[in-house]
């Protein structure tokens, strides 16, 4: 009886893992679902909203798109809008981002001496979103005791 329960549980966990890995492949993004962590894109996105990303290699980055990127050396993904792009003929592109709710662009967030972002810094482009759903993750991070409870 216990054997059956353990097996059942293992099946569920591996199914979830397969679905997640499948999503990573389909969307081309290492992190196809992200939670908005700050209020810098309000009133469009608030802390706790969930974003669905794609990161297709052939999708060009254009001004006005909402991208999720990581600054070199830091783990936290940032969700902001592209406000400037300069693209060369061979496809090399450098771009600048800014949060809708911020007064200034993101140059202050980039690495020391870095003035532009490149394709390699992009985790994905925001294609869809669900409000509030990501709150669970934030609560678990802010209150580790809560995590232990679960």
């Amino acid at each position: 009886q216990l054997y059956y329960q353990v097996l059942n549980f293992a099946m569920i966990v591996s199914s979830a893992l397969m679905i997640w890995k499948g999503l990573i492949v389909i969307t081309g993004s290492e992190s196809p679902i992200v939670v908005v962590l700050s209020g810098s894109m309000e009133p469009a996105f608030h802390r706790g909203d969930l974003l669905f990303l794609t990161n297709f290699h052939d999708d060009p980055i254009r001004a006005g798109e909402i991208v999720v990127f990581k600054v070199e050396g830091r783990d936290i993904p940032i969700v902001h809008r592209v406000i400037k792009i300069h693209e060369k003929e061979n496809g090399d592109i450098k771009f600048l981002t800014k949060g809708d709710n911020n007064e200034v662009d993101d140059r202050g967030l980039y690495k020391e001496g870095q003035n532009w972002l490149e394709k390699k810094d992009v985790v994905g482009r925001a294609r869809g979103f669900l409000p509030y759903v990501g709150m669970v993750t934030i609560i678990m991070n802010d209150y580790p005791k809560f995590k232990v409870c679960i």
Binding site: A63, I66, G128
Partner: protein, 153 residues
């Protein structure tokens, strides 16, 4: 109609452009919207109404697109505005200055005859897909061949 356009520079060896514009927008449920962007000449851009039950806000932005020797494609957002559900659906903005500095990556604005301004918007739903739409219609802004020095902006 007065159109003021000049640019100083180069600063840090990059061209800086100044553009002023007017925007008239009428976003009504179910009706056609007309946006008139007046720079050197009157051009009307048509926008279809998009505020349905699932639309939380619109992020409107005016971007300049052009090519230079340095870069095959440049896009610079000059101005943006958030329109929330329930906001006055009619926009009537005159003599607007660009919100953000129109720096080029290099000296590609001087004498550039083909700088195109387009109005686009991001629809932010209450939940669901985030489409980016570009208005049909655009205005071309030719930049002069010379730099201006110390013109008040």
């Amino acid at each position: 109609r007065k159109n003021v356009e000049d640019f100083t520079g180069p600063r840090e060896r990059s061209d800086l452009g100044f553009v002023t514009f007017d925007i008239t927008a009428d976003i009504l449920k179910g009706k056609m919207i007309v946006i008139c962007n007046v720079l050197f000449f009157l051009t009307c851009i048509h926008l279809r109404s998009i505020f349905d039950w699932n639309v939380k806000q619109l992020f409107l932005y005016l971007s300049a697109e052009y090519s230079t020797k340095n870069n095959a494609l440049n896009q610079v957002v000059l101005w943006d505005k958030i329109i929330l559900r329930g906001d006055n659906p009619r926009l009537f903005l005159k003599d607007m200055k660009s919100k953000y500095f129109f720096f080029d990556d290099g000296n590609g604005l001087k004498g550039n005859r083909n700088v195109t301004l387009t109005l686009s918007w991001n629809v932010v739903p209450n939940a669901g897909i985030l489409p980016l739409v570009t208005g049909s219609g655009h205005v071309s802004v030719p930049f002069p061949d010379t730099y201006e020095t110390t013109k008040s902006y």
